[in-house]
Symmetry: C2
Subunit: 276 residues, 2 copies
């Protein structure tokens, strides 16, 4: 079974596309063809999208599924007349929410990803720059500025998770590798000792780690199952001894790891608030 | 006016939070306190969330707004009984979509960000690694593998945009700076000459660029308005001469730049398809 899916937005369309993926992932056995139509902000473009939707309906013999976020009512009206199954994810909730809050919404286009002057946006950009500058232990300067420092053996998922934490949540997320020298010394790297409360550990199954490392350096000692077993075991012992909270990244997506780290940070700060 | 907002999800909650932000950004003058409750996957946790919602309702004297994505009906049922204004962004569309497609949904928890074995997920991770390895012209090896190569003067937004393209869309997005030596030579860097069709340019207002650069290197020639004017002008001339499509990043968010780049890539590939 095949079906064409449109994401029609007056802005980037990223929110509606993410939302749509999430819904569509609940349906197996359908082959969805995805069409993005961002930045639809004139009647002419809206009518052009309608024509494209109708052409797809004719070609496929089934009406397309159309996810929309069109804040401007006159544009929504045009697109909603298309021969399609329309999911107006945004518009559906706007009126009830206006009612609940007792105020009118802006109907302003491009609010989600448009305000580059907001402090939240600036914080995100700063966080991305900080995270890039503090990837993989590149520098131990300003580590005290970090919101969180991910630790773990090489290639256990620290870098993409740090970037995601910065990009999505605006957190200054440094990461620092635990290496054989640390295990031999039996101590955390010196620069991490004063910031233990900011550390979050990632670990990984040795069998998974050896696969990942072998893609980079096939047939190396570094990638060997024996060495991966040693490093993972030593890192877990160190984290346990130092009281560092950690999770196993082996079967988790970046988003799941990031959301878990964020949850742990929130709990820690709630505990601190209660304790003080 | 104040209002507490909960994001309740059986998975990471990232989709519902992004969606909720998007809706709430339409309402000015309300101070929203945001509470994330990800990974709610048992009845006990669902009841605990309900208690937290009701406590917030009592404390604030107004029922909270609760965005939910709970795929499991028995968990949704519990949370939906809370004294709150519930926006069940996910559940609202599931039944109509089942009806439209004529098949039942999985009601599977954690589908959105859970499948680390999927080829899409692996592609994203590869893209992130590629993008990090090809940031800021670090290497010109394997540039032909890139889906897109962003070019522009130093500090015009290439790095965060590349990372976003990789993270969100799974694109191998390299970036390469245009520097005074290139302008003096009057030629694109050699490694870019064979891949002109993959280039996308970013430019920026000199007044904005001087601000950004001054944060890094105050009082430098590099950051001076005069030099920024020279570089931006020379870069724009070069891009125009080479037929490189570009946009002005000065007032655009990462998401807007990324969505625009993606749209340009799609149009180019549609044009190619039509031409061949």
């Amino acid at each position: 079974m095949k079906r064409t899916v449109f994401f029609v937005s007056d802005s980037t369309g990223i929110t509606v596309e993410t939302f749509g993926h999430s819904l569509l992932s609940q349906f197996e056995g359908v082959e969805f063809t995805l069409v993005r139509r961002p930045f639809i902000d004139s009647e002419e473009e809206a009518r052009e999208v309608v024509a494209q939707i109708e052409a797809a309906a004719r070609a496929e013999g089934a009406r397309p599924i159309v996810f929309t976020t069109l804040v401007a009512p006159h544009l929504a009206r045009i697109v909603h007349l298309a021969n399609a199954f329309i999911i107006s994810c945004f518009e559906t909730f706007l009126a009830p929410l206006e009612n609940e809050l007792g105020i009118a919404s802006n109907h302003a286009i491009g609010r989600t990803h448009g305000s580059t002057d907001s402090s939240d946006y600036k914080k995100r950009i700063e966080a991305i720059n900080y995270t890039l500058a503090h990837d993989d232990g590149v520098t131990d300067r300003n580590l005290t500025e970090a919101d969180v420092v991910l630790v773990g053996v090489s290639r256990c998922g620290k870098t993409p998770t740090s970037l995601y934490l910065a990009m999505q949540f605006g957190l200054k997320a440094a990461n620092f590798p635990l290496i054989p020298e640390d295990f031999e010394r039996g101590k955390l790297p010196g620069c991490l000792q004063g910031i233990r409360h900011k550390l979050f550990g990632l670990t990984i199954l040795p069998e998974r780690l050896t696969q990942i490392r072998a893609e980079r350096r096939p047939n190396s000692r570094y990638a060997s199952l024996e060495n991966c077993r040693y490093e993972v075991d030593a890192a877990e012992k160190m984290m346990r001894r130092e009281g560092i909270q950690w999770l196993d990244s082996s079967r988790k997506s970046i988003e799941e790891i990031a959301a878990t780290v964020l949850q742990a940070l929130q709990r820690a700060s709630e505990d601190n608030a209660r304790a003080s």
